[in-house]
Amino acid sequence: MPKVKDIGEVSLIFEPQEVFAHPQAQESLLSTAHRVGVKINSCCGGRGICKSCVIRYVEGEVPPPSAQDNHFFSRTKLAKGWRRACQTVPQHSARINVPKRTRSQASRLFVGGEDIWVHPEPLTKSVELLLAEPSFEDHTSDAQRLIEAANNVADGICEFVDLSVLQILPIFVRQQNRQVQAIIREKKIIALLPIKTHTLGLAIDLGTTNIALLLVDLHTGSTLGSCGIENQQCKYGADVIARISHAKGKPEVLLSMQQVVVAAINQAAHELCAEHALDPGAIVDMVVAGNTVMHHFLLGLPVDQLGVAPFTAVTRTTEDLTAKQLGFDIAPAAGVHVMHNIAGFVGGDHSALLLGIRADQEQRTVIALDIGTNTEISLIHKGQIYCLSSPSGPALEGGNIHCGMRAAEGAIESVSVSGETVQLQTIDGADPIGICGSAVLDIAAEFYKAGAINFRGQINEASSFAVQRDGMAELRLSKAEPELVFTQADVRNLQLAKGAIRAGIELLLQQAGLEAQMLDRIIIAGAFGMYIRPESAIAIGMLPNLPITSIEQVGNAAGIGVKLALLSEPMRETAKRLAANSIYFEQAGNKSFMKSFIRQLNFPVLVEGRQR
């Protein structure tokens, strides 16, 4: 193990990967780590709010704790070298241990496999051709012979050949003994493939934190492979607002936002193809869905206006682009469709969700929501869709929670309280090391029911679960190291999150002249939504009090929607219509939303009727 030496220049070694780094002046340990590619979680984006970036100095002089860390850790922990990476500016050479929890990646990337059948009607047509042999008697060009062969199969199908195809045409045709598979889109041959090979499409769910890829056979409609990767833009900020402010007025940052995403998708797509012995050049169509900010970054559009009221997008729609235009390393003339946005904070991912749940065919009165830092909510009622985006904050993703972490091994995912005992269930049954979003709901619901939290969200000091720290009560979940607690501030953050979601639901219902009891169904989409207990969501008032059976957890509906749009031209048109016809409400600055939001912060009264 290399030893740490202080020789003028500060050098750091990150365990366990044994990565060396020289910090720049005034750079936080978190930034240094990210710069050299050491994975350190940062749920709050380095703002010193959460605990996701804790590290430990194991060798070298430990810098004095920041004022915030001084308050954050116990004296013993500080003495043992525990710090938060975002709060620490290294001054001396040191060896730093990055604990498992701090580097854990979300294991719950939900990438589908949830195959739903749709009759494939892709935008591309594929025809297998035998080209006439060139000779002295036949002076037609290779391209012309290609077009003629295609039109012999189906008259009028083809008029042009894309330049990228022309550039490989003579060599490819001769290599394949004049037998080729031509991929045609809008009368243009956009790719040539060997005969009897898959024509592939790529469906991409471009999330702020994670990117999911689905490799699909465009003919059969079956999913050939899938994978999830982290959105590399995370190093520029955990949430969209942080990234907007980072890129604001800086074209070079805007450009790199685009490049890191494209590079990550390229790498993942190539690995996915390699795994299944497929050629990335056979990917001839691609559909991407993301929120409006991800959409803008992907297309290199300025995001400055998206960050300030009234949150104006550059565009909601774009015509289909080519892979080459955006730098995707697939068939160069492959189309890239970016799903249409609905508004500044309701993006193409929500259009995809609406398609995924087939909102166009919905006869019932339904609330569909995808819970995240911003929770997009749609009300579908009598053929009309009303939607909004509610600022629920990161608490439900484990951010802004004292012991919060992503949904990874060792994260407490559900909690139940009976009598005097707290039962914890962790992901993969590992020893608990933190709390992820689904457990946050359970903790609030279970401790509320047990009387350890009152309806105002105040922790009851007299409760046997409560312990005192710095004069504030907190709930203890686990005594063993690491000690896990749920603080009063955590309860407040959860209240803000659930209040925002419920107020959003209520605002939509009010706009449509409906009441919660008139809802037939609540559809919870998204990875997070898969793992919550609806009972807990109802107990704390995040969702209206409907029968449990009317709450449906559908998983990655947006992913399904992207796949549908990839496989079927009519579906793609349906999604465009859904996006265009949805009625968007801006909650920001809306007084009635604010009032409703504040009212919804309390937990639903269990006994007495004092709360209105």
Binding site: R47, I241, A242, I244, S245, K248, G307, V308, A309, R456, G457, Q458, M472, Q488, R492, Q495, A588, G589, M594, K595, I598, R599, L601, N602, R610
Partner: protein, 217 residues
């Protein structure tokens, strides 16, 4: 009498709106001094504020208390004889507050407003998404000792800076102090915007204002 006083305070502090309002009517109908009654309300608000600080109460209680106070004021104020200026006499100073241009968040600002008011400051709340020029005009009109700029979005920090610059350009900076708050403000944001101080929460704001106008806590 003093029994009614403590009952009224109790109703407000315990969020019993209907009881508080009907007792207000009863007291005023029986000839209770409306200025006295409003003073009791302020005592009650003070207690609500303390409960908020100790985390016993959260935003809903602040909102309900604020609602009750404004309803009671509406009932009591018409009964106050002209010439009696019990209220203004008690203000420590004036604060102009608002959420800066481009930002629509108002919860934090509303809490600060509430806490300043119950601590004896007159607050001119300009609302949200406030153009720079509105701040300047309000300062010229109300002559405040303190200006509070609120913003939650990191992007609001530039708007804060512009507002501070405009106040300076209008030659108003010398007569007042500027505090900023909201979301992720810290020392570096304070420096960036050119404000005099920043606050992490509503009590910070109250303490800053007290310091600046020279009121003991």
């Amino acid at each position: 009498m003093s029994d009614q006083k403590s009952q009224l305070i109790d109703h407000i502090v315990e969020m019993r709106e209907d009881e508080a309002l009907s007792l207000t009517h009863k007291m005023l109908d029986a000839g209770y001094d409306p200025l006295q009654l409003l003073a009791h309300c302020r005592d009650a608000m003070d207690q609500v504020g303390k409960r908020f600080e100790t985390q016993e109460y959260f935003l809903p209680e602040l909102m309900m208390a604020g609602d009750m106070l404004s309803q009671i004021s509406d009932i009591a104020k018409p009964l106050i004889n002209k010439g009696e200026t019990g209220e203004q006499a008690s203000t420590h100073g004036t604060v102009v507050i608002g959420t800066v241009n481009g930002d629509l968040h108002d919860i934090g600002k509303d809490i600060v407003t509430f806490m300043l008011e119950i601590n004896g400051f007159k607050v001119i709340d300009l609302g949200i998404d406030v153009p720079v020029s509105d701040f300047v005009e309000a300062i010229q009109e109300h002559n405040p000792q303190v200006v509070g700029l609120s913003g939650f979005l990191t992007l609001a920090f530039d708007a804060m800076k512009q507002t501070v610059d405009a106040i300076e350009a209008a030659d108003l900076r010398g007569q007042l102090k500027i505090m900023i708050g909201g979301g992720q403000v810290d020392e570096s944001i304070k420096v960036h915007t050119g404000a005099d101080a920043f606050g992490k929460n509503a009590m910070d704001a109250v303490n800053l204002c007290r310091d600046w106008v020279g009121v003991a806590a």
